[in-house]
């Protein structure tokens, strides 16, 4: 699926590029498309960086909760938040907001944030050595003045940088005096390949505890599940005027994940159908499902499974007449009137798609081929693929417990 998506994006990009070049006929068009693609990519990456940055901030404040940098509540000026080289002020604003939220919700850290508009302002200072133009956060005198005006004697600096596949947070607290001594420093890094833990701001946990919660959530997805389905099967009308009725099926059974990633599932169900005066039937069905929407099932987004399966179906009653080789004739109807309803037992092989949400709710559609029904005149074909034809079309909704 990823390869197909990638190919589609490439084709779309190539088409857009060609159209742009034809329309404008200069290199500016290429630059614009190129920039747009880079911006899209950057937005995609930024969203991941944002989560990882939040994770590092959570870890930092959790560490402060455990070992506060100050013994008592201390006002601290958030002097500077710097984002990785190449990223802009949008990410910076998100990080500042999340950090402020964390500090407010975690008073055990003993850090109180103080507002510092001077820190981000451009400062010009002239002296005997010359004129210095810099941001307030890089100017000791400005920091000292900011501290005096806010009652704070400490400034906090948060620096994020991308180093290969890791994001590194360097946090330091500086005392606002002539020497600007660093009184607290901490370096935190995302370990390569580990997803963001997304802890709750109110009840911060250590990385190990958060990871254990994540594993527990995964283990909550048992290897075995009990699915319940309600579905409808329709049969293509044949050349005769007698149309096949739709059959409503209720079925349940057991489903097993055959791999750790839930990429392959096996399912066995039994079902029943009943229509007053018309039919009663049962069915045994087995299916193998393959995940198509990724390499592992997702807890947050819908999964698409493709499946193949086989079933044995038995129908007893007036509606079973349509599965017989001959059309219902007068003899059949008289026989039915005498209480001898027809019965049909046949096999069906299905292929279909199912969309599952959080591995709990699903809807699916399938086509079935009935190899023994090629001579049933009341049943036609929905789709003929050469080797075989699909005579039945069905939809179903399912709940997994």
């Amino acid at each position: 699926m990823a390869a197909v998506k990638r190919a589609a994006v490439l084709w779309a990009s190539a088409a857009t590029l060609l159209l742009s070049l034809q329309a404008r006929g200069d290199n500016q068009a290429f630059d614009a498309v190129d920039r747009a693609q880079v911006e899209t990519l950057r937005a995609d990456v930024a969203s991941e960086i944002q989560l990882q940055a939040y994770d590092l901030l959570d870890e930092l404040v959790f560490a402060w909760n455990e070992q506060p940098p100050f013994n008592a509540d201390t006002p601290v000026v958030l002097a500077d938040v710097s984002v990785p080289v190449g990223f802009g002020s949008g990410l910076q604003a998100l990080i500042e907001t999340h950090f402020a939220s964390l500090i407010v919700k975690n008073p055990r850290s003993h850090v109180l944030l103080a507002h510092c508009p001077q820190c981000t302002a451009v400062v010009v200072r002239s002296g005997a050595k010359g004129t210095v133009i810099s941001r307030g956060s890089q100017e000791p005198q400005t920091l000292a003045q900011a501290g005096a005006s806010t009652g704070s004697r400490h400034a906090l600096f948060l620096d994020f940088e991308v180093e290969g596949a890791s994001l590194v947070l360097r946090a330091r607290i500086t005392r606002l005096d002539a020497d600007l001594l660093i009184v607290h420093a901490k370096v935190l890094s995302t370990s390569s390949g580990t997803p963001a833990l997304l802890r709750s701001e109110e009840r911060l946990k250590s990385a190990n505890e958060a990871r254990q919660e994540y594993l527990d959530a995964l283990r909550g997805r048992s290897v075995l599940a009990v699915p319940l389905h309600i579905g409808v099967r329709t049969y293509a009308p044949g050349g005769n005027t007698v149309g096949a009725p739709a059959f409503v099926w209720l079925s349940g059974g057991v489903e097993a994940s055959l791999t750790q990633k839930r990429a392959w599932l096996g399912r066995f169900t039994v079902g029943a159908t009943w229509s007053p005066e018309l039919h009663v039937g049962w069915m045994a069905q087995a299916r193998a499902l393959r995940l198509l929407s990724g390499s592992e099932s997702s807890l947050t987004s819908p999964d698409i499974y493709g499946f193949i399966g086989g079933s044995v179906i038995s129908i007893y009653g007036k509606n079973a007449a349509i599965f017989q080789d001959d059309l219902p004739n007068l003899a059949n109807l008289i026989s039915a009137a005498q209480g001898n309803d027809p019965q049909a037992v046949f096999a069906a092989f299905a292929v279909g798609l199912e969309i599952r949400v959080k591995n709990r709710i699903g809807i699916g559609a399938f086509l079935e081929t009935l190899p023994t029904m090629t001579n049933a005149n009341a049943i036609g074909e929905y789709l003929d693929v050469g080797l075989f034809a699909f005579q039945s079309l069905g939809v179903e909704a399912s709940l997994c417990f």
Binding site: P84, V85, E163, L181, A185, S191, S295
Partner: protein, 215 residues
Amino acid sequence: METLVFLVVMSFVIVLERTSDPSAGVLRGKQEARNLECQRISAAEAHARHPVQVPEPPARATGAQVDALDCQRLYMREGERPARDEMVLSSLRRDVAELVAAARAKVPHEPPLVWHVDAFYPDQAVAAKVAVAARTHMAELGLTVSDRVPLLAAGDIAVLGRLPAQQSYPTACARYVDQGVLGDDHVFMGLMIVDGREGQLHAGLCRRGQWTWLR
């Protein structure tokens, strides 16, 4: 017809199984493969990092050792940042740790000194990252580090800017002491690239007017 269907189905299965292969091939271009950072780790560690994708290895495993290739996409793809900046930033932690260790080895632990750090790099944003990385690492190690950067007068900088790097830093070090910017209990560590064409960080120490190259 049956043969054709069989071949199509088998090709689909093979392609499906290769979607997770990080190497360049049919489904992944060379450029995309270059944007991955991969490391080979044990199956147990792979399970700890990716419990969904990697099953728990059996407790009584015998036979061949099974390992995993853990790949993650680089945050900044190749070409998004200038090559020299990317080289310096991607190995910043390791380089800074090495240089700080070398600096500590050159300076006696007693009496306690106040460390000042600055970086000299053509791009100011990268220079700030390098300096912050060094300061934070030193402070985390327990050294007394100041955020204050010793400054020289504009005239000094104008002269120093015309000197080759091998002379400018020792001269600047002497000027720091002459101007009273650095006292005896202060030590300055500078990190820089000496030649604009190289991507390796160098460092030097300035103490009591004496400049010492670390790398």
